[in-house]
């Protein structure tokens, strides 16, 4: 098959699919129906027809400025996909977002996007139109049109009214609001050129065949779910099989059954999805499943754990799962999606490195007589040039040295919507030796023999006496030091004592349920953590807070929210089972009515 020019747009890709195989399923959505799953299929021809209707209606209905983006508020359905493509067909900038169907965090987030993006129109399903119109009015957005779409909502609009849009490669195809806080959302501007470049990068990295079958439960407004699992199959005339995250979490075995039923070749999930399968899919559920069709099972969007990869492969090897299929990758919305991924035909690399050297920002082979860390390679960079840069001096660093990951290339997005200062800082960085136009990712990593090892986030990094310590390393060391500690249930951060400007390390660790009652045992556990960290990391008298399971806050994708945990700790908002705090740390906490228990504070040991 001749190579397609990179300048083609998503619209071109879908139209090509319609011409070649109009009846092929572009999408299959698995709806929960009673206890089974009911497949809903959408052919290329029907996807195209509905997208043309959406585009024609958008053009008719929008009186205002067509450069204002279109906010898509849908539950997980194929109607989201037709509306998203409809925006491309209309030459409008789309914003995928979750349906704000419950008050709280989600509504606040979408309200923030509405304000930030200067949205011109909202698309949703008929049953939400009234509520969303009321919400728009209450938000003071009088001139925002709200349209409902769906199979029965054509209102007689003739799809043949549609004419292809004239778009330039530099036009913003969509805004990805995946980073930034709720109060200050940041919309990553992904241009048509960016999207084409990254789709091609994914295609060549994963060796995606024409007509691929991909399958996923990731949310459609999430970059990995949208770019990787929804648009990549469209890009190559393939089929995307989907279900909602809720369907998956209810019964993780459904994901594996989907792979079996549809002979899925490519899938993706953050690390926690693979963990859920290992923990919750019973032998009875996995019996008879054939996972041998799976060529690529991407693991990204949160730290990739070597033990999870091993456990998943071990558990499902009997079902035909190939070890090479499990594929660690690194990407971020600011680079459209993919930066690097392991080769799908060879096993991923793991690197045991010397822990002390890593603290000094160097990858050195582990020694048997010293503590070590296992890093998982995220493969080789694809269309993107990766620079490792000292975040303070902005000097480029050689192979094997840890620094901030900087990126250059055609997938690097155009910036943050309406934020020129932040865009200049983040997307237009210049190294000390004058390499310009770089994206600062805020992630730390190193290159070694061309492979990228991601080691942490800058903001969460602990700096102790000039050494860089990675919270996840300390968390893991604590969790491996005793049965009572819950795996993945820890948050390590530092708090700074303003007077001396000294940073103090705080370990918040969940205990397993059986270990939470005996006060004496708790005191011993806390002391053992201090001793361990003193021995292994040369950290004297860290503060240790032991808590019940479930106290550590995580994002919906399973990332530990260390910054939030630090705030909760400093506000005195943690339900503490037992703690041993350094006096300087006690001084940072809000004064309580009761005097601190004598056991609560211990003096630093020499």
């Amino acid at each position: 098959m001749p190579h397609q020019p990179d300048s083609r747009t998503l619209t071109d890709a879908v139209r090509a699919g319609v011409e070649r195989h109009p009846d092929r399923a572009a999408f299959v959505y698995l709806h929960e129906d009673g206890l089974g799953m009911r497949p809903e299929e959408l052919s290329y021809a029907e996807l195209d027809r509905r997208a043309r209707v959406v585009a024609a209606r958008l053009r008719q209905a929008s009186k205002g400025d067509p450069s204002r983006p279109v906010l898509l508020l849908y539950p997980p359905t194929l109607d989201f996909v037709t509306a998203f493509l409809g925006c491309f067909y209309a030459g409008r900038t789309a914003i995928p977002a979750p349906l704000p169907d419950e008050p709280g965090e989600r509504l606040a987030r979408v309200s923030g996007i509405l304000r930030d993006a200067k949205v011109g129109a909202v698309l949703t399903l008929p049953q939400y139109r009234q509520a969303i119109s009321a919400w728009l009015a209450a938000s003071g957005e009088q001139d925002v049109v709200c349209l409902s779409t769906g199979a029965d909502e054509d209102d007689g609009t003739d799809p043949d009214l549609w004419t292809p849009p004239r778009v330039r490669g530099t036009d913003v195809a969509f805004l990805q609001y995946s980073s930034g806080s709720t109060s200050e959302p940041k919309g990553v501007m992904v241009t048509h050129t960016n999207l084409a470049a990254n789709q091609e990068a994914i295609r060549s990295a994963m060796k995606t065949p024409q007509g691929v079958v991909a399958g996923s439960w990731l949310p459609l407004y999430h970059d990995m779910g949208l770019i990787g699992m929804t648009l990549q199959p469209l890009w190559v005339g393939g089929t995307s099989v989907q279900m909602s995250p809720i369907s998956f979490i209810k019964q993780p075995g459904r994901w594996l059954r989907m792979i079996h039923d549809y002979r899925v070749e490519g899938t993706a999930s953050p690390n926690f999805g693979y963990e859920l399968c290992v923990r919750r899919v019973s032998e009875e559920q996995s019996a008879g499943l054939d996972l041998s069709s799976l060529r690529v099972a991407l693991n990204g969007a949160e730290p990739v754990r070597a033990d999870t990869l091993r456990a998943f492969v071990r558990r499902f090897a009997g079902n035909g799962l190939r070890a090479e299929a499990v594929l660690p990758c690194y990407g971020l919305a600011e680079n459209t999606l993919l930066v690097s991924g392991n080769d799908p035909e060879s096993p991923h690399l793991e690197l045991a490195v010397d822990a002390q050297a890593l603290e000094q920002d160097e990858l050195r082979p582990a020694r048997t007589d010293r503590p070590s860390r296992t890093l998982v390679s995220c493969g080789r960079p694809k269309d993107t040039e990766v620079l490792i840069v000292d975040p303070m001096t902005l000097r480029g660093l050689p192979d094997g040295q840890v620094g901030e990951i900087w990126l250059r290339g055609p997938s690097v997005a155009a910036g943050y919507w309406n934020r020129s200062e932040l865009t200049a800082e983040t997307f237009r960085a210049v190294t000390a030796d004058g390499r310009a136009g770089c994206l600062r990712t805020g992630d730390l990593g190193a290159l070694r023999d061309g492979e990228l090892y991601v080691t942490g986030r800058i903001k969460e990094m602990l700096i102790q006496h000039g050494r860089n310590l990675y919270p996840q390393d300390i968390e893991q060391a604590v969790q491996e030091s005793g049965d009572a500690f819950r795996r993945g249930g820890g948050a390590v951060f530092s708090v700074t004592d303003e007077a001396s400007e000294r940073a103090h390390v705080v370990v918040v660790q969940e205990l397993k349920a059986w270990a939470t009652s005996d006060e004496e045992a708790l005191a011993r556990l806390a002391a053992s953590v201090q001793a361990l960290l003193s021995r292994q990391f040369q950290l004297p008298a860290v503060s240790v807070v032991l808590v019940r399971p479930g106290v550590i806050r995580k994002t919906t994708s399973g990332k530990t929210q260390r910054t939030l945990m630090r705030r909760l700790f400093l506000d005195g908002g943690l339900p503490v089972l037992h703690q041993r705090l350094a006096p300087a740390v006690v001084a940072l906490l809000p004064a309580t009515d009761a005097a601190p228990e004598p056991t609560a504070a211990v003096s630093p040991r020499p």
Binding site: H21, D23, R24, A25, V28, E32, G34, L35, G36, M37, R38, P39, E41, V213, T239, V241, I246, I249, K250, Q251, R257, H260, D261, Y262, R263, F272, L276, R280, R486, G489, E510, K512, A513, W514, T516, R548, P549, G550, V551, K554, T556
Partner: protein
């Protein structure tokens, strides 16, 4: 052309075991065990009248519990069940009602 129509297996699971009975003590015992599993606790730590929120339930655990109920009792319940009925007792009461309705419905001649 439809995708892989021949390889698709029938989705509903076969009825390979008798449907569990919906009497309250059994229900509570079973639910307590599953709640404990998803909250990473021991069964005897789960007090039936303590809100699950006090045990630090997150959205993954809440949806998981919903999924277990659906699978075990072949009963569709809202994903928010652990929030709508915040304790083991409250969920048990709700389930007992649903199961009684279902039994009545199943007995009616079609």
């Amino acid at each position: 052309m439809s995708i892989a129509p021949d390889t698709r297996t029938a989705t509903p699971q076969p009825l390979d075991r008798p449907l569990p009975q919906g009497n309250a003590p059994d229900l509570e015992l079973w639910l307590t065990e599953r709640v404990a599993f998803h909250l990473h606790r021991a069964c005897d730590e789960i007090d039936p009248d303590t809100p699950l929120a006090d045990y630090g339930i997150d959205s993954v655990a809440a949806i998981s519990i919903c999924g277990e109920i659906e699978q075990h009792y072949r009963l569709a319940v809202a994903p928010t069940i652990a929030y709508d009925f915040p304790t083991v007792h409250a969920i048990t009461g709700h389930l007992a009602e649903l199961l009684a309705d279902k039994a009545k419905h199943d007995e009616e001649p079609s």
